[in-house]
């Protein structure tokens, strides 16, 4: 059976390393924090000005001055530290953050990412996504393999407005895992009971089969 969202988040957590500073995007990427291995020190960065972002607070302990990039209330850890937005993006742009995990609308076979705008629909803005993909050392995408209407999201060339060019390193979908190596897309893992043929038929991007 293809992976569930929780299993995709668990797979993404395997990309964490001890000592990493990590930025998790809104949605499924946020769930990755639930699967940080015990004993591994991972510091979560929130673009709005916090390192050491803690879990959601218990009811009654919400603090309006303490939110994450998705504007949800969060809590503090002993290691937490606060700073302003210019400093936050200096961390991002200056390559100080090891890993960012975000969602996508499309990823191209060249590693281009489109995840902020659908022309014709109300444009809400790019937020911090463009800075993240331009500056963070490693970019991991978690996304559904296909759009709701069945269209491929792993495409030859993105048709949607780009967030970044050649920025993606790893893609996790419910069907498996792809990695960019020397500018080329490789299929490196399949989810349980998923066949390579199904992946191929549901993917428009050219990729190299690197399954063992």
């Amino acid at each position: 059976m293809a992976w569930t969202r929780e299993e995709m988040a668990q797979r993404a957590a395997k990309e964490l390393r001890d000592g990493y500073y990590v930025n998790l995007g809104i949605g499924i990427p946020t769930m990755v924090a639930n699967y940080i291995p015990d004993g591994m020190r991972v510091t979560l960065h929130s673009e709005n000005g916090m390192l050491g972002t803690g879990p959601f607070p218990y009811e009654g302990e919400e603090d309006p001055d303490l939110i994450n990039a998705g504007k949800q209330t969060v809590s503090e850890l002993p290691s937490s530290v606060y700073f302003d937005s210019a400093t936050s993006f200096a961390m991002i742009r200056g390559g100080h953050i090891n890993l960012a995990i975000l969602g996508a609308l499309q990823v191209s076979e060249a590693g281009d990412l489109a995840n902020w705008m659908i022309p014709g629909k109300m444009v809400k803005g790019m937020g911090g996504a463009m800075d993240l993909v331009a500056g963070v050392q490693r970019i991991v995408v978690i996304m559904d393999h296909n759009a709701k209407d069945g269209e491929a999201k792993l495409v030859k060339e993105c048709s949607l407005p780009l967030t970044g060019v050649g920025v993606v390193n790893l893609i996790i979908t419910e069907l498996g895992v792809f990695e960019f190596r020397e500018g080329k897309l490789h299929l490196i893992e399949l989810a349980p009971n998923v066949l390579a043929g199904e992946v191929r038929s549901r993917t428009d991007a050219k990729f190299i089969d690197d399954l063992k």
């Binding site: 929780e6 998790l24 946020t30 769930m31 990755v32 924090a33 639930n34 929130s46 673009e47 709005n48 000005g49 916090m50 879990p55 959601f56 607070p57 218990y58 009811e59 302990e61 919400e62 603090d63 309006p64 001055d65 303490l66 939110i67 994450n68 998705g70 504007k71 949800q72 209330t73 969060v74 503090e76 606060y82 700073f83 302003d84 937005s85 210019a86 936050s88 993006f89 991002i92 742009r93 281009d112 109300m122 444009v123 809400k124 803005g125 790019m126 937020g127 911090g128 996504a129 463009m130 800075d131 331009a134 500056g135 407005p161 780009l162 967030t163 970044g164 060019v165």
Partner: protein
């Protein structure tokens, strides 16, 4: 006539903004979502009914709180922001062509504001290279990589919110309500700061001040902050790991 620097302390937002506000002006506002927004200044701007405003702010509040309040009487002509998702009034005015939006990547916006306050007229960044953000902008290579040039933002007025401030205008922020308030405070020709607690000079530890008062021209203690939570999210006390984050 040279304007006196002191006293910096004002009674309230109305008196601090009275001789500053005018139609068509450019204002930079601190805050991220509804966190750390200058509530009293926004209310005073709404009450003044000035229009044709260009507002530099990461977001535009929600329909009935924050900068969204200035949309009701169509006071905003243009927003310079990174994300304006949570606002039906905004969407309606934008789709009707009544409201302009210039989207900036969040980091570029923060740095444009900081640079404006710091006397840096332009800088280069990799953010947005190869995207529509790079259109019509100069680019240059450094060490074999392409960067685009972004220009500084300066505003006639900066409105910011801090947790504590003293009568010199020195500011201390609390937790994630710092966000854009610190760079915004630098970028206003006149910066008006509202604080939860206004103290005497000497009461704030000089090593722990976040924004030096040189950047702040006017300061007042807000009489009552709503401090609304935009997305109240909690976790269960039962040991359910999947809802922790």
């Amino acid at each position: 006539m040279v304007k006196a620097v002191y006293p910096k302390v004002y009674q309230d937002a109305e008196s601090a903004l009275d001789d500053v506000l005018h139609d068509g002006m450019i204002i930079v506002a601190g805050g991220f979502g509804l966190c750390g927004i200058p509530e009293h200044c926004i209310a005073a701007i709404k009450k003044s009914k000035v229009t044709g405003l260009t507002i530099i702010s990461n977001n535009c509040g929600v329909d009935d709180f924050g900068l969204g309040l200035l949309l009701h009487d169509r006071q905003i002509k243009k927003m310079i922001s990174s994300y304006v998702g949570e606002n039906k009034t905004f969407e309606r005015q934008y789709l009707n062509g009544e409201l302009q939006i210039e989207f900036n990547p969040q980091g570029t916006l923060a740095e444009r504001i900081r640079a404006g306050g710091a006397g840096i007229p332009a800088f280069y960044t990799k953010t947005g290279v190869g995207t529509i953000v790079a259109q019509n902008k100069e680019s240059r290579e450094f060490l074999g990589e392409t960067y685009i040039m972004e220009t500084a933002l300066v505003a006639e007025l900066a409105i910011v919110k801090a947790w504590k401030g003293d009568k010199e205008g020195n500011l201390v922020f609390r937790k994630t309500s710092r966000n854009f308030n610190a760079p915004a405070a630098m970028a206003g020709k006149i910066t008006v700061a509202e604080v939860e607690e206004l103290v005497e000079p000497g009461e704030l530890d000089p090593d722990l001040i976040h924004t030096p008062g040189i950047f702040v021209q006017r300061i007042f203690q807000g009489h009552k902050f709503e401090k609304r939570i935009e997305v109240r999210t909690t976790r269960s006390r039962a040991a359910d790991k999947s809802t922790t984050y």
